[in-house]
């Protein structure tokens, strides 16, 4: 028994309700498809690659024989390149964020820089590879080296660090800063001793996001000259190198089934590394957030 007894109204009401249920079902289906694909991907990778995972896999170099191939060179390459990228992007990015939020006068120049950063965030990563190839490899003559790769990736993830750090610094309450100024502190002292510690969790999150992105990048490094078959460990900043995603790419592209298994195993390692980093980010953020509650 409904509130309104008009028959025509009730008929329409029923249609509307049915449409509502159908739509709700569609929405759930959409969400499920995404989740299903993720599950399928993880299942496929794990079922294929788990068998190949072993200590040997991590310590071996690539080889013509799938069973004997390992990710040692790629892993080391990734560690070196991403470390360089992380350190460079972090220092330059946080510096830029501090300048933009704390020092720059709000005007057309500052907006222009912000516009630039927003645009750089949307540039395809492969274009950074082209930039790195021309500037670092050729013009600055670093060669197709670890350091060139690190700097290329640093430019790539710089916008991420800047945007995340800017947001974190913006969130610092002005009452905190004004308290510092009122005590006679200089701008840098306020930044260093009050603003940055408060904004640290946000900045850290941005840094870890940037490093996560750098770990997974493939195209820019290929373009800039990373190798796809590296039977040696990188022995210095000027050494040639490869990284884990490129190794995975190389194995995936081979016709032999055995290499596909290797690729899956490599993917597991890569995902584990990324998962650890993200878990670290969440953990660190909680830890530091507890500490800065004034």
């Amino acid at each position: 028994m409904a509130l309104i007894t008009d028959v025509a109204f009730q008929k329409i009401m029923r249609k509307r309700k049915i449409r509502g249920y159908v739509f709700y079902g569609l929405c759930l289906t959409a969400v499920s498809i995404g989740l299903l694909m993720l599950a399928a991907l993880l299942y496929n990778v794990l079922s294929e690659g788990l068998t190949r995972l072993s200590w040997g896999f991590i310590s071996n170099f690539p080889s013509r024989f799938p069973e004997r191939a390992g990710i040692h060179a790629a892993l080391l390459g990734s560690i070196y390149v991403v470390s360089i990228a992380g350190v460079v992007a972090f220092t330059l990015g946080v510096g830029a964020a501090i300048y933009l939020e704390e020092y720059a006068k709000k005007g057309p120049f500052a907006s222009f820089i912000q516009l630039n950063i927003a645009n750089l965030a949307g540039v395809p990563s492969i274009v950074y590879g082209i930039l790195g190839l021309e500037i670092f490899v050729r013009i600055m003559e670093m060669g197709k080296s670890v350091i060139a790769g690190g700097l290329t990736l640093a430019l790539l993830v710089l916008p991420i660090v800047i945007i995340a750090s800017s947001e974190a610094i913006r969130a610092v309450p002005s009452s905190l800063k004004e308290g510092g100024f009122a005590l006679g502190a200089t701008r840098w002292q306020v930044v260093r001793r009050l603003t940055l510690p408060y904004a640290f969790p946000g900045i850290l999150t941005g840094a870890i996001l940037a490093v996560s992105r750098a770990v997974g990048e493939t195209a820019p490094l290929i373009v800039m000259g990373a190798l796809t078959f590296v039977p040696f460990a990188p022995d210095g900043p000027l050494s040639r190198f490869t990284v884990l995603p490129i190794q995975i790419f190389n194995w995936t592209s081979r016709p032999q089934e055995g290499f596909h298994v290797n690729a899956a195993a490599g993917i597991i390692v890569l995902l584990v590394v990324l998962l650890t980093m993200n878990a670290l980010a969440v953990f660190l953020r909680h830890k530091f957030q507890k500490g800065t509650r004034w």
């Binding site: 028994m1 409904a2 509130l3 309104i4 025509a8 109204f9 329409i12 009401m13 509307r16 309700k17």
Partner: protein, 278 residues
């Protein structure tokens, strides 16, 4: 019931002489022992209130005492808040709107609402008004219906040449009248108004008050206001709701407006009206 009964105040105030039994055709909405909780916090407890048909009833009282909560329970708008729970019965034309099988959507079609801040849709004036009828399957002459609604809201003359322009371009008072027109378009029986003039200037306020008096010839109106003069000017009946130290709203007194403002029975009502608190 989840709360201890010792703090419950039964406030069965009656209209002087006019109160009759539940099936009285004069009553359009009857609240019976209505209590609303947000999570575990009570907002109002045990309200008994009978709204008379085609009259203007005002709910007055200090801020934060549950007037809006009570008003929103009349058209089940509190259902939109996940932690809100409503107990008791609210009869609309004799039927309990909180019964199991009642769809809140139907109720809101019959009991309309105008909000504190005007909230026209970012669409044209025409589409704002046509929205309600369209979703309810209206097949007739929409132009005519829009015109009727705008005339009913005293807005037609001002906007008849720009029906396709955006509703957001109107002034505050015009936007509120647009929201009223939008409500009129679905031909409700009751119009609930939650402090409709608090965001408007005095001139616009007077226009809305005049409109209310005209509308009450056809519709039953319940208005929440913390402007006592407005309640005195506009309403036929007034209910005074206040909260004790525990911030739980209760109905203190409900009577003819003239009676409430000239000779209130409860000392709390008198204290509020004479400005001693609130």
């Amino acid at each position: 019931m989840p709360w201890q009964c010792s703090c419950v105040i039964n406030s069965r105030k009656v209209l002087d002489g006019d109160y009759m039994l539940t099936t009285d055709k004069d009553l359009i909405i009857e609240a019976k022992k209505v209590s609303v909780f947000y999570g575990n916090t009570p907002a109002v407890i045990d309200i008994d209130l009978a709204i008379k048909r085609e009259k203007i009833t005002a709910l007055i009282g200090p801020s934060g005492c549950g007037k809006t909560t009570l008003l929103r329970s009349f058209n089940r708008m509190n259902d939109l808040i996940p932690i809100a729970r409503t107990y008791g019965e609210i009869l609309f034309e004799g039927q309990n709107i909180y019964a199991e099988n009642i769809d809140p959507t139907e109720i809101r079609y019959r009991i309309g609402m105008v909000f504190q801040r005007p909230n026209p849709f970012p669409k044209s004036i025409y589409d704002n008004i046509a929205f309600g009828p369209r979703i309810n399957g209206f097949r007739g002459d929409m132009d005519e219906l829009v015109e009727k609604a705008l005339i009913g809201a005293a807005l037609w003359d001002e906007v008849k040449d720009r029906l396709r322009s955006s509703g957001l371009e109107l002034s505050g008072g015009q936007q509120q009248r647009l929201c009223i027109a939008r409500t009129l378009a679905v031909e409700p029986t009751v119009i609930l108004m939650d402090e409709p003039c608090s965001a408007l200037d005095p001139v616009a306020t007077l226009a809305i008050e005049q409109l209310m008096r005209d509308l009450s010839k056809q519709y039953s109106i319940v208005i929440v206001t913390h402007n006592m003069q407005q309640a005195a000017r506009v309403s036929d009946y007034t209910a005074f709701i206040t909260a004790d130290e525990r911030r739980i709203g209760e109905l203190v007194e409900y009577d003819d407006t003239r009676q409430i403002f000239t000779n209130p029975s409860d000392e709390r009502t008198e204290a509020y009206i004479t400005g001693r608190f609130g």
